[in-house]
């Protein structure tokens, strides 16, 4: 399946949320959708999930508008932090009916995940803790095996071991059943290794969409003696600085050329990759946050 957005715009009344978005998603890979609070992540994903329509512009999945398209909608799963108030059934009861509407749903896998996330028992989903409810969302999202699967920060309520379990399951199942998976998140440093491709949106616009490897080569971390590092980093765009005694580490934005690398090695500096989180923070900095 593929997703294509052309000049996509969304406004809530007079309040514009998404501006002129253009992007394409072709391959069954894991896409990280990063953006600050209010950047428009959920709004964008709502349009892909047919939860709402765009105000103008065009979103197509396999060449057709997904909204109210029965064939497409069955193949798109959009999981978000749902309010389960009033849900009287237990997780294992609910999943038994999901296969009625989801053509790729795997009940056996769902039950396995329910056991892994310790969601067995007759307790209704409404009575589960927030973290367990999040885990239940994850179970449904994974077991639906929809060709387009979206997780909109559903993992936020889960504790660290549960999140880790989710990441492992996600990678394992993606290998067996490749699909387009979009993960929107704030937990950049924790999840970056999952992403094949990264999309950063800022103030309703696509800031960049690149393979993970290409993005992290946009900057470097330089570690060494504080004077040598200071000399090397002069006139360069510094994203982050840290110092411990005489050792200093700076994160520099921009690719290194051969001359830079040579200079660094002459100064006895170690060059490492930049973290996605540092880049994300730098790229989405508001004007008044710049020093």
């Amino acid at each position: 399946m593929h997703i294509k957005a052309t000049n996509l715009q969304l406004a809530y009344g007079r309040d514009p949320v998404l501006h002129d978005m253009n992007f394409e998603i072709h391959e069954p890979k894991i896409y990280g959708l990063l953006g600050r609070n209010g950047a428009g992540k959920t709004s964008l994903l709502s349009i892909i999930g047919s939860f709402r329509e765009a105000t103008s512009g065009d979103l197509r999945i396999n060449g057709v508008a997904p909204f109210e398209n029965a064939q497409i909608m069955q193949d798109v799963t959009f999981m978000y932090n749902k309010d389960f108030t009033g849900e009287t059934d237990s997780p294992s009861t609910i999943v038994k009916y999901l296969g009625r509407y989801r053509p790729h749903f795997d009940l056996e896998y769902a039950m396995k995940l329910i056991r892994k996330f310790k969601l067995e028992g007759n307790k209704s989903v409404a009575k589960l803790s927030k973290g367990k409810q999040s885990a239940f969302n994850v179970v449904v999202g994974l077991a639906n095996r929809s060709p387009i699967t979206i997780f909109d920060e559903v993992y936020l309520g889960m504790d660290a071991p549960a999140r880790d379990l989710f990441y492992k399951e996600l990678l394992k199942d993606q290998e067996l059943h490749p699909r387009i998976i979009i993960l929107s998140t704030h937990l950049v440093s924790e999840m970056d290794y999952l992403f094949d491709e990264v999309m950063i949106i800022h103030e309703g616009r696509i800031l960049l969409q690149e393979p993970y490897d290409a993005i992290v080569s946009r900057g470097v971390t330089v570690v060494g003696g504080k004077d040598a590092v200071a000399r090397f980093a002069a006139n360069k765009e510094i994203l982050n600085e840290e110092q411990l005694g005489d050792t200093k580490s700076v994160t520099i934005y921009g690719e290194m050329n051969e001359a830079d690398r040579l200079a660094a090695s002459e100064l006895g500096l170690t060059i490492g990759p930049v973290s996605l989180q540092d880049l994300f923070i730098q790229l989405t900095k508001e004007d008044d946050e710049h020093e």
Binding site: S50, N69, A70, Q71, M73, Q74, K82, R102
Partner: protein, 256 residues
């Protein structure tokens, strides 16, 4: 790859879910009805007692019906399939409930007449409304609750059919009101309550015309409608209600 349309599945599922609720409601109502045996020497048949209660019940579950919209869209079902599915489910429910209450009523009658001295009455609701004084709010409220009634003894099919019709319309107006609240805002929701009352008033007045039951004083102007037009007007009113629900839900956004 074209997959089969999903609305038959949706209608079956929604029918079953709401039928389960109905069994609970009927059960509780039956317990109340039986309880009355010990308190009163006269007892309305279960059938006639369900006539008013059924309308209120359908109105309430009609209001709840909007919650199936986000549920189904989240599971990849179109708003259209949800709409069609629930129209069929609610229609089916409206047919099944009168039959169920009638059957329960028959059993009740058999037991009560054989084992007690209590008189069972199929009270026509007209008995209750004699002392209406032309107060518009009172009449609107009563017209909302006291729908024209035909005893099953006089004409079983007309009685069941009329019961079904009332139930269906009450379900639809509940659904309509909640759809307006969901889609637009509280103000429109309240506006649609007025629309719903008008729909009920028109339906009931037309049925009163056909059945030769006197109209409420405030609706007496409707007397000029020729009898032959009354049924078509009822039909069109229902159709308009269904179309309004579709228009309200067709492009509804899920608020998350």
């Amino acid at each position: 790859m074209n997959r089969p349309s999903l609305f038959p599945k949706v209608s079956l599922d929604l029918f079953w879910v709401q039928l389960t609720w109905t069994f609970w409601a009927l059960g509780i109502h039956l317990i109340i009805n039986i309880g009355k045996i010990f308190l009163s020497e006269h007892l309305d048949t279960f059938y006639s007692a369900s006539y008013v209660a059924g309308n209120i019940y359908m109105f309430v579950i009609g209001i709840i019906a909007i919650n199936f919209l986000p549920y189904y869209v989240e599971h990849g079902i179109t708003r259209k399939d949800y709409f069609l599915g629930n129209v069929i489910a609610s229609f089916g429910l409206s047919i099944v409930i009168p039959i169920l209450t009638y059957l329960i009523s028959l059993v009740e009658k058999l037991i009560v007449t054989n084992f007690s001295q209590i008189a069972l009455a199929d009270r026509t609701l007209e008995d209750i409304v004699i002392d209406i004084d032309g107060n518009i709010i009172g009449e609107v409220l009563l017209s909302f609750l006291l729908t024209p009634f035909i005893s099953p003894e006089s004409n079983i099919f007309l009685s069941l059919g009329l019961f079904s019709l009332h139930l269906f319309v009450f379900y639809l107006v509940g659904w309509l009101i909640s759809a307006a609240f969901y889609r637009i805002n509280v103000l429109f929701g309240i506006l649609f309550i007025a629309v719903a009352i008008a729909i009920i008033a028109v339906k009931d007045s037309m049925i009163r015309l056909v059945l030769d039951i006197p109209l409420f004083e405030n609706f007496s102007a409707l007397d000029i409608v020729p009898n032959g037009l009354a049924w078509p007007i009822v039909f069109v009113t229902i159709l308009i209600t269904i179309i309004l629900i579709r228009l309200l839900t067709k492009r509804a956004a899920l608020k998350i």
